[in-house]
């Protein structure tokens, strides 16, 4: 009788060990405090931080570190010049446009790397110089569509873009060769692929984390 009772207790103990109690609220994703747009914005600013905000810290860390590793891997493989910034030429010079008119009333758009330079051939300016990316952003970005993918990786892309433009300048102003030439062919393609894929993955992470935030995270 006594042996049978101890046997029952042992069975109960075995069952109790198997029971998985729900984690505390503070340990789960239930303690999210962010709205979808805020999660999306943070997810862009720091990849993976959207998950962090909704309480999924491990998921956020894994996603964020992997995305950053892929982006930096692309720069490591192809060099910093793989971030090819719209609105700048191969030597890191900003390009400008302005509208000009001749004596017969014809209008043209003059594109120049030196906005201080006077027009020639009887063309008179009828507008101010504007940076091409600001004057007509879509055609400019369409020339370098991979930048759209890259920028989705977050401000790290802006930092890389700034550095890319900086090192692209020639050693002296009269030179026509960049101080840090960009890579070519396969290596450039692979670097572009890495950096753009990192951005696209971050977009997926942003959408997923914002959706989870909207759904009440973890439900």
């Amino acid at each position: 009788m006594r042996g049978a009772m101890w046997g029952d207790w042992r069975d109960l103990l075995r069952i109790a060990v198997r029971i998985e109690y729900p984690a505390l609220m503070s340990q789960t994703s239930q303690n999210f405090f962010a709205s979808g747009p805020l999660v999306a914005l943070c997810g862009w600013l720091v990849p993976g931080s959207g998950y962090w905000l909704i309480g999924e810290k491990i998921r956020g860390a894994v996603v964020g570190l992997t995305i950053l590793a892929i982006f930096l891997g692309g720069i490591l493989i192809a060099g910093i010049r793989v971030v090819d910034v719209p609105g700048f030429d191969n030597l890191g010079r900003a390009s400008y446009v302005r509208l000009e008119q001749d004596s017969q009333g014809h209008v043209r758009e003059n594109k120049s790397l030196q906005p201080d330079k006077e027009s020639s051939g009887g063309w008179q300016p009828i507008g101010a110089w504007h940076w091409t990316l600001r004057a007509h952003p879509f055609p400019d970005i369409a020339e370098k569509p991979w930048f759209v993918g890259q920028i989705l990786a977050g401000p790290i892309c802006l930092v890389a873009a700034s550095k890319s433009v900086e090192v692209a300048h020639p050693v002296s102003p009269d030179e026509t060769i960049s101080a840090t030439p960009s890579s070519h062919a396969r290596i450039f393609e692979i670097g572009t692929l890495y950096t753009a894929v990192a951005g696209m993955l971050n977009l997926l992470a942003i959408i997923d984390s914002a959706y989870r935030a909207g759904q009440g995270a973890g439900q």
């Binding site: 992997t66 490591l76 192809a78 050693v171 290596i187 997923d208």
Partner: protein, 78 residues
Amino acid sequence: MMLPLAYQLFLDPMPLWDYWPWTLIPLALGVSIVYKSMKCKSMKTVPREAAAITFWILFGMISAAAVLWGIVAIVAKV
């Protein structure tokens, strides 16, 4: 003009011209980890699932390369 000849990390491209196909592996692994981190309910299952999907990505890419190589070889003979 003086150009620096020494390799500068993160500024100059890596000398991978003869080994570029190997760069597929870390990319496939990274994509798999991020994708499975989003898909899996529990993060404990991510390593195994990511390893599996990495294998299938690589298998698919190698298969596609083999098929394309075969087509090119046939077309070149004709």
